[in-house]
Amino acid sequence: MTRTCLSIRDLDISYTRHGSTHQALNHVSLDLNAGEMLALVGESGSGKSTLGRAVLGILPPNASVQHGSIYIGAHNVTHLSERAWRQIRGKKVALIPQDPAHSLDPVRTIGAQLAEALRPHQSGFLKRHNTRAEAIALLDQMGITRPAQRLGQYPHELSGGMRQRVLIAAAIAQRPDLIVADEPTSALDVSVQVQIMALLATLRRELGTAILFITHDLALASEQTDYVSVLNHGVICETAPTRQIFSAPQTAYTQRLIANLPVFHQTPASVPDPSSPTPPDVIKVANLGYSYAQTTRSGYRHAMQNITFTVPKGRTLGIVGESGSGKTTLLRCLLGLITPQVGTIELLGQDPSKLKGQALRYLRRKVQFVYQNPHVSFDPRYNALKALEEPLINSGLPNPAQRRKMIDDVLQKVHLSSTLLARKVSALSGGQAQRLALARALLCQPEILVLDEVVSALDVSIQSEILTLLENLQKDLGLTYIFVSHDLSVIKRLSHEVLILQNGEQVEYGKTEQIFSKPKNDYTKILLSCIPLFSFSTSPLPKENEKII
């Protein structure tokens, strides 16, 4: 008989802010047995993190449980006191947090933090010999190399994946029955994501830990999990075994979520007609190299070497690379923010490093940049109208009526209502702000758009809308895109050609279909195998997933 680790019944949670209440969760019920893994999927604002925090008893002070109950094992934890909670946390239920970069205390050693996780009620450190041995064993179990040495290191000396392993080690330190994993991989590179998912699978197999896996990524939820619960505006609209969710989604909302997954878009948008002549290249990059001087004695570090590619007018080049692959350096070179030491760049027939003054400013207007996080790429004090007017004023268009007409035109192109113009940019949703960022770029009448992870901060449904918008803009205006993403499925949907970077070198470059169907490089093969649901998309019916028992 299976043991129930977590049982949530009819849970209502609401937030009170400035006198008004907001219902975050509405009659939520869930059950999770020992050794099972349930994915709780929802878009931002769906209440998934509230649920995770409620299970750990770390809701913010302005949240209250109005109705329903939470049982962890046999304990009713719905209205526990802080003191009683401390006996449950760590021992019965533990957390694997979202952002490994900020989830470890930066000024304490790994060892001190593990000692605290092992014995939170004693003043820690590794004084006791068995604590030290236990900490080493934990790190070893997480697949961390040289565990004894790690104990003396500080978080900033470890990589993101390594930090997440340390956090998982801390979570399982007291052998809890239940682990809440709140977006544990969303801040990590795809190849590291796969390793962490595999580690979670091992945990539940070997320790029988139940895992509540909270994610915004429906594709990722298909990996390793037994059940998927879909949360929409605080209501669970569907809970079903994982394969069933993907093969026979019951509710319209789930169906829409699945349809919006970029991996299910089979054809890359507008495959160019092979008979038509290839348009002229507007971007030519040859043997590009850039090195940063290092402060240590080792001299120079090559951020990128030997990058060569061309992009024809009206086409999209997708650039894929993990952190440290040199993609940021490449973009900075393309935008003329830094001058490469080796090689040449030609944009619209001109080398930006040889231009000065007027000509350089003209070229910069023709090559526009859209950044990953739309909210931080605007001055927070500006309203939307002022944000859009700025490039027009800078380019010498003092007539307000003309400006207004251009702004109205461009808003129509990005499908943004002009009623939003009076709002502060910070009051716009992520999708709206990204449309506004696109509108601002388009106002300069660019020929090339450099898009850096423009959809990674957005929910899938919004992501899909923005991608469609980008496709249409390209068709209508003949724009050329440089599209950077860590998400291969998004790259596949939008790009005509793909460039894959690893450690500053170009490991693969070619037509999108070729790279996805017949990758030559080992690294590309690894990346492709890391795409969740890739198997689903390439075969008409979901394949039997061996990992699901």
């Binding site: 925090r53 770390i58 947090p97 979202q98 205390d105 930066p106 000024v107 304490r108 040495q149």
Partner: protein, 319 residues
């Protein structure tokens, strides 16, 4: 590391020389000089000729550049000159007065740090509960109030209450550390205000970082989260500010030593200003600048120990 220390040392020497030169220029620009101030007193009945002789004896009639070279030369040899007002060697006068001020500075600085820490700890601990949040807000307002209270008023009140009303510490007849305890603590209150403000702001910022929630989810108690995680993380910016607070301690020392009748550098400075005693003033300026330089240096040395991310060189660790 040795190379770093060496450049820092050269830097400090340069700052000291700059302060010495600047103070010399400013003191030269002032009309008159100490000899005139002292001997022009009509009661002494000295003739202009006698005063001119006196000025020649003290070297006050020479050109500014000659005086500068002379004064710099003897200062480099460790000779701080003679006070015109008392005729005593300046070194001797400093030697007699610096211990009081040093003790006063230490008591008020440590007191201020303790007060700031208590304020900060209470503000964080209380903000956890619904009722405590109002108390925490009240504590958050304290530094704003204490920084506005004039030091001399606070000290007079302290003497009235602690010494006369409650009869806890006598005002006269004390020596050593006990003499600076009450004045030091009174001075600590306004000094603690900027420290507490920075400390609380930093602690509240640390409190919102994700790792604090992770610790709570691990079953670590709020008290332990406070002393083992929040405070150590909030300390580095606070220490940076404490270097600036040193100036306030010096300014406060002048007032405090006057109110409590202590024989310290503050008193000496006040008298030297009144009598334009250039040699004494220059020595005091040199001492306070070296105080500033060494505190800045000390906080730079301590920062990497508190926050490993600032580390200049890979340090050897035990594990």
């Amino acid at each position: 590391m040795i190379r770093y220390l060496f450049t820092r040392f050269l830097h400090a020497i340069f700052v000291l020389w700059g302060a010495f030169t600047l103070s010399f220029v400013l003191l030269q620009v002032m009309p008159g000089d100490a000899v005139l101030v002292k001997f022009q007193d009509p009661e002494l009945g000295l003739s202009p000729q006698q005063i001119a002789d006196m000025r020649a004896t003290y070297g006050a009639d020479e050109s500014a550049i000659t005086q500068y070279v002379h004064v710099l030369g003897r200062t480099l040899h460790g000779n701080l000159g003679y006070s015109i007002e008392t005729g005593l060697p300046v070194g001797q006068m400093l030697h007699a007065t610096y211990p009081t001020t040093l003790r006063l500075a230490i008591v008020s600085f440590v007191g201020a740090l303790v007060l700031a820490t208590i304020c900060c700890a209470l503000a964080i601990l209380l903000s956890g509960s619904p009722v405590g949040r109002y108390l925490a807000a009240a504590i958050g307002a304290i530094p704003g109030i204490t920084s506005g209270i004039p030091v001399f008023w606070l000290e007079i009140v302290a003497i009235q209450l602690v010494s006369f009303h409650w009869k806890l510490i006598p005002v006269v007849g004390l020596s050593g550390w006990s003499a600076v305890l009450l004045p030091g603590l009174a001075l600590a209150i306004p000094i603690s205000a900027p420290l507490a403000q920075v400390f609380m702001a930093a602690a509240h910022r640390v409190e919102t970082l994700p790792f604090i929630d992770v610790l709570r989810a691990r079953g670590v108690s709020p008290l332990r989260i406070l002393y083992a995680h929040i405070l150590p993380n909030a300390l580095p910016p606070t220490l940076t500010v404490s270097g600036l607070v040193f100036g306030e301690i010096l300014a406060g020392a002048v007032v405090t030593e006057t109110v409590f009748g202590l024989d310290g550098l503050g008193q000496l400075a006040q008298q030297a200003v009144a009598s334009q005693d250039v040699a004494v003033l220059q020595a005091i300026i040199l001492i306070s600048v070296s105080g500033f330089v060494s505190i800045g240096f000390a906080s730079e040395i301590i920062q990497p120990l508190l926050d490993p991310r600032i580390g200049r060189s890979a340090r050897q660790r035990k594990y």
